[in-house]
Symmetry: C2
Subunit: 159 residues, 2 copies
DNA sequence: CCCGTTTTTTAGGTATGCCTAAACATCGGA
DNA sequence: TCCGATGTTTAGGCATACCTAAAAAACGGG
C-alpha cells in the first residue's frame, strides 16, 4: 500500500481497538510500517477532524463518527474483496486491490458491486457462467456455451 | 480526478498528439485544469524518465517508451470502463472510476477483468444472468432464477 | 521588421505525508 | 522509590505536486 488515507487509519484503529482498549502510536506504526512519530501527527489530525479521541501519551479511541466511518469502510472493503475473489482473483491480490479500490470508487459503483456479490451469494449453486468464466481465465480458452442453455435463456428472456 | 500520475499525462499527450503535431503546455494545462507552469515541470520530469522528447518552448512528442505506456494505459482504461458499464454503472461514473482504477489494480486483476469483458462480448445475446442482475440493481429486488434454468445448469455442470 | 500579445519558463511559495534525532513521559523491576 | 528501558512527542527536514508572479521567448499583424 502506498499513500494511506483517513479511512485506512480509522479502519485500523477500529480493528486494533476490538481486541483491547485504547490504541497506541506503536500499534499503528508497526501495522503500517511507518514511524511512531508520524502516527502522532496523524492522531492529531484525526482528532481535530473528530474521528478519534486523542490523549497525549495514552492512545486513542474512536468517536462514533470514527466508528461509523470505519464500519462503512470495512463493509466496502469486504464486498470488494469478495467480489474480486468471486471473479477468480487470488486472495492476497484481492485483499490488496480491495484496499485501494475502497477509497476511489463512486458510491453508485460500490452499490452495484455489493449487489453483485449479493446476487451470487443468493444462488443455490455457483452459476454456470461463473464456472465457465473461471475456466476461461485459467486456460485462456473460452468454451462454447451449451446450445440448449442459450436457447433456454432466449426463451426465458422473451417473457 | 485528484492527483495525476505519469500514466495520466502520457495518455493525454498521446490523445492530443494524434490530432496535430507537438503537444504544448497549454494543451495539457487546459485539459487537466492545472497551470501551464506546472505542466512545464511535468514535462521536465517525463523527459528525464524517457517518456517524452521535450524541447523548450516548442512542446513535446512521445518516445516509443511513452507511446507504449500510453497505449497500455488506454487499453486498461477502456476495458475497465466497458466492464463497469456492463455491470450497469452510469457511463460518466464508469469513465471516472475507470480512470482511477487503471492505476491501482494488480496486473492479474486487470487481466481477469479484460477476460470478463471479452467473455460477455463474445456472447451472442446479453446473458440472462446479466439482465437479471441489472433488474436487481434497478429495482432492489432479486427475482427468482427460473427453475428450469437452474436444473439445466446443474445438469450441464455435471459433465 | 518591430512591437504588443500570447505562450512558456523560472523562481520561489504552500500543503501534505512521511522521515530522523532528540527531548520527554510512563512503566515496572530492584 | 528510583531509574533504566520503552514508548511518545516535538522540532526540523525532505520530496512531491501543485500554485503565483514575473521574466523570457515566440508569434503575427501593421
Amino acid at each position: 500500500m502506498k499513500r494511506k488515507t483517513i479511512e485506512d487509519y480509522v479502519e485500523l484503529v477500529y480493528d486494533l481497538q476490538k481486541r483491547g482498549k485504547r490504541v497506541h502510536t506503536n500499534d499503528i506504526a508497526s501495522a503500517l510500517n511507518i514511524k511512531p512519530a508520524s502516527v502522532t501527527e496523524i492522531f492529531q489530525k484525526l482528532d481535530s477532524e473528530g474521528y478519534i479521541n486523542y490523549e497525549k501519551y495514552s492512545g486513542v479511541t474512536l468517536t462514533s463518527r470514527g466508528r461509523n466511518l470505519a464500519i462503512r469502510t470495512k463493509k466496502k472493503h469486504q464486498a470488494l474483496k469478495e467480489f474480486l475473489i468471486l471473479l477468480g482473483v487470488d486472495k492476497q491480490v484481492a485483499e490488496k486491490d480491495a484496499c485501494e479500490m475502497e477509497h476511489i470508487l463512486d458510491p453508485t459503483t460500490m452499490d452495484i458491486i455489493i449487489k453483485f456479490v449479493e446476487m451470487i451469494n443468493r444462488c443455490e449453486i455457483t452459476p454456470f457462467w461463473l464456472e465457465r468464466f473461471k475456466r476461461f481465465v485459467e486456460s485462456g480458452r473460452l468454451e462454447e456455451c451449451p446450445p440448449e442453455l442459450v436457447m433456454l435463456c432466449q426463451k426465458v428472456q422473451k417473457n
